[in-house]
């Protein structure tokens, strides 16, 4: 029995299953919803299987076609990949449950196949060990995401989708040029082999510049964030949640991987980390201030994503001396932001559905009238602000610890300011949510499953605050950060 579990190719099925599901939804639209829900739950089970396997056997490597690198493409999963897959599955379930009632027939038929293809792309991306293969998964992810944004159909959404598509394609092309240089410099596109063969050279710098720029554009790090707020704000709600929670993280994950495996050891200490940290700090401040200035809820949340992405980059300059806590902080921030931001967008979607608008000043006592949704927003907000007890708090604690160990007071100040600004924009919303508006609006009932999906994800973001020890030991399997495994 055990052998079946430890030998089963969970990782491969994680990619093939959603692809199959997407095709089934495409072929038989009438069963799209059922298929979609089934696949998403099955994917979650597969992730559990993969986790079991990785826990037993250590890292997972699958040589597609039996060739192995450098000739073939490898799939690879360590603790970090596993965690990304897990969060994708978890948020995916929340989003699917939400979408099952959110999308009505016409849109539902379109949503499910696109979402399943996106899920396949995400899984493939987190499992890929091959930089060209990553390019293909990026395109799969990007096209699916753009089509999903455009599902909203409004003029704003179409414009935002267009801008998003252009940015995504530009990012991909820059990335691909970097891939070309790396391949011709070192004769392979396998990450592990590149890590072995690469040595400091102009090629490395050019590849870092190109791939870095492309990935930063996709990750929407300030000042390359211009495409994100309109896209995330005007997309259909579950799509906004998907984009902010998962898609942005995917490109960050690749950036992190490449940095850890290839670029970091070669160009570390040359100021790249400082630049990333600086941009991260700027993103936190700029994104937060912009969020504070918004009068529309979804735009506010989108700008909050811009700010939260900044936190992820603060870790880069802090790694040199404190390895463990800075990367652990990043892991934790990624996880908690995924959960919290998905919950927050869903809550915003519920409010939009309830009142027919998302003007913050007219929220009109939704705390009383839509308590589950308001609760979801508040709990997600706690994590975003980094208040205890929440996943966001753990991430912020670890990051602060790293910054203080290095005496980086500038970053400490930015983090604290970011937290205060976050509190500012979140309580701005909550304040109006408690307050009676001047004009009362008609309201529409919100389906219970949409409220509960948001609330449960938010609760998960809070509970994450108590799971740091197991989660951090899980992520250290395979030593993705090069600092040793922490086995409980």
């Amino acid at each position: 029995m055990g052998a079946v579990f430890t030998e089963f190719p969970w990782g491969v099925i994680l990619i093939l299953l959603p692809v199959t599901g997407g095709m089934l939804c495409f072929l038989w639209p009438q069963i799209a919803k059922i298929t979609g829900l089934f696949i998403v739950f099955a994917v979650a089970l597969l992730v559990v299987g993969l986790a079991w396997q990785i826990f037993d056997n250590g890292v997972y490597r699958h040589a597609v076609g039996g060739w192995g690198a450098p000739l073939g493409v490898d799939l690879y999963a360590d603790g970090l990949s596993l965690l990304m897959l897990a969060i994708t599955a978890l948020v995916g379930i929340g989003i699917s449950v939400y979408s099952a009632t959110y999308f009505k027939h016409e849109q539902a038929v379109l949503f499910w196949p696109l979402w399943l293809f996106l899920l396949a792309a995400l899984n493939a991306l987190f499992l890929s060990a091959d930089i060209f293969n990553i390019y293909v998964t990026f395109e799969l992810m990007g096209l699916a995401a753009v089509a999903l944004v455009a599902l909203a159909g409004s003029r704003e959404a179409l414009g935002a989708a267009m801008r998003y598509l252009l940015a995504a394609l530009l990012g991909s092309l820059a990335y691909l040029l970097g891939v070309a240089l790396l391949y011709h410099g070192f004769g392979t596109v396998d990450i592990a082999l590149l890590a072995e063969r690469a040595e400091p050279s102009p090629i490395i710098w050019a590849a870092l510049g190109l791939m870095g720029a492309g990935l930063l554009l996709k990750t929407a790090l300030f000042p390359l964030h211009f495409w994100l707020p309109p896209a995330h704000a005007s997309a259909p709600t579950p799509v906004s949640a998907l984009l902010s929670a998962l898609v942005v993280k995917a490109s960050f994950y690749i950036l992190l991987r490449l940095w850890l495996e290839i670029f970091g050891p070669l160009v570390g200490g040359a100021g790249v980390e400082q630049l990333l940290g600086l941009l991260g700090a700027a993103a936190i401040l700029w994104g937060s201030v912009q969020a504070l200035r918004q009068t529309r809820l979804k735009l506010l949340i989108a700008y909050s994503t811009v700010a939260q992405v900044g936190y992820l980059f603060l870790a880069f300059p802090l790694v040199a001396a404190t390895g463990v806590s800075a990367w652990s902080a990043v892991t934790y921030l990624v996880l908690s932001h995924a959960l919290a931001k998905a919950a927050m967008f869903m809550a915003a979607g519920n409010l939009l559905c309830f009142g027919g608008h998302d003007r913050i000043a007219d929220l009109d006592r939704v705390v009383q009238r839509l308590p589950l949704t308001a609760g979801a927003f508040a709990l997600a907000g706690v994590s975003i602000m980094g208040l205890p007890p929440s996943g966001g708090f753990i991430g912020k604690w670890l990051l602060l610890e790293a910054a203080l160990m290095q005496g980086r007071w500038d970053l400490v100040v930015v983090m604290i300011l970011g937290g205060l600004l976050a509190a500012g924009y979140i309580f701005k919303v909550l304040g109006y949510a408690f307050t009676q508006a001047d004009v009362s609006h008609e309201s529409k009932a919100v389906p219970a499953s949409m409220e509960w999906a948001a609330l449960l994800l938010a609760v998960a973001a809070i509970l994450l605050g108590f799971l740091a020890v197991p989660v951090l030991s899980l992520v250290s399997i395979g030593d993705p950060f090069g600092i040793g495994e922490v086995r409980p």
């Binding site: 491969v12 293969n133 293909v136 799969l140 096209l143 240089l181 090629i203 050019a206």
Partner: protein
């Protein structure tokens, strides 16, 4: 390298740059597209010079041909009513934004490009890449054309995902737009005849490319592109498939490629333990099966992309009203 080839290569390179520049800068969008198609054809020539005939075929068929057709169709829909004396659409106003700081990106890009050029030139003059690995395993790959071996065997996983990308693009297009299935009025006898005449030839050529791909330049993508071109021609001639075929049958054809890939992936996973690991003796057959399925899907998908919308949606809407 002889002087002649050097001159030729330099001329070709400069022509490419010049055509690209004109295509991007010329004020008339129609001309820009024509120039872009010409650019694509010259690219195909460059691929031949670079000893990449497979890429040349793909570029000519997909990069220049189908992309050009898509661009033209889009332009026609963008300005559907305005007819012009010189047979083109009106020049775009404000072709380039008159920015006083336009020099800024120009200088930045120039600097970056110079750096990139330096980096490219810093590469060693000889590098084997993966050529030895490919050659060593070619015999058991099931195809003697190394490009096909890479596409369908060594890196077959990329191709699986790529075919899904194509399907996904169609899904995206369909989610945005619906297409009419009404037969266009009076396609004209010449075009009609041409389409009737060429379609069987195109199918024949596609089959040939597919078959030849195993050992010579060609393969599923080129064949699919030719098939797609046939579809484009038929659509241009006003031909429309029966509405009844638009639901499941069309979709089944569209997913044939990716579905076959997935099935083969699962089967090989079960048999050999690794996804897409073919038994050497059956590799040739499996590749042929995969390529055939892919060709059909690619061809139909490309034609459907040219149609530019969901034919079923339109049908359904009409039934409702």
């Amino acid at each position: 390298m002889t002087l002649l080839t050097w001159v030729f290569d330099s001329l070709l390179g400069l022509s490419l740059l010049w055509l690209a520049w004109r295509a991007l800068a010329c004020p008339d969008l129609f001309k820009a597209i024509v120039l872009f198609v010409a650019f694509g054809l010259l690219m195909a020539l460059a691929w031949v010079r670079l000893a990449a005939p497979d890429v040349a075929l793909a570029e000519a068929a997909i990069g220049a041909g189908l992309t050009g057709a898509l661009l033209m169709a889009a332009l026609a829909k963008l300005h559907p009513t305005e007819a012009h004396d010189d047979f083109t659409v009106p020049p775009e106003k404000n072709v380039t934004k008159v920015w006083s700081w336009q020099w800024l990106p120009a200088v930045a890009i120039l600097l970056v490009t110079t750096g990139l050029g330096y980096v490219v030139l810093s590469l060693p003059p000889y590098a084997a890449g993966l050529s030895t690995e490919v050659a060593a395993n070619l015999a058991i790959s099931g195809a003697s054309n190394p490009v096909t071996a890479v596409l369908l065997n060594f890196r077959g996983y990329d191709t699986l995902l790529e075919i899904v990308v194509l399907l996904l693009a169609l899904l995206g297009v369909w989610s945005l737009n619906s297409a009419s299935l009404d037969r266009k009025a009076a396609p004209g006898i010449v075009l009609d005849t041409l389409a009737r005449l060429l379609t069987p030839i195109f199918i024949l050529v596609a089959a040939y490319l597919l078959w030849v791909g195993a050992h010579a330049p060609g393969g599923a993508f080129q064949a699919g592109a030719v098939l797609g071109a046939a579809g484009v021609l038929l659509l241009l001639a006003g031909w429309r498939p029966r509405a009844g075929l638009m639901a499941l049958p069309l979709r089944l054809v569209l997913v044939t490629g990716p579905a076959t890939f997935v099935i083969v992936a699962v089967l090989t996973l079960l048999m050999k333990g690794q996804m897409l690991e073919y038994p050497p003796t059956q590799a040739g057959v499996l590749i042929l099966i995969l390529e055939t399925a892919a060709t059909v899907s690619i061809g139909v998908t490309l034609a459907a992309l040219f149609l530019g919308g969901d034919p079923r949606k339109n049908n359904r809407n009409k039934n409702q009203t």
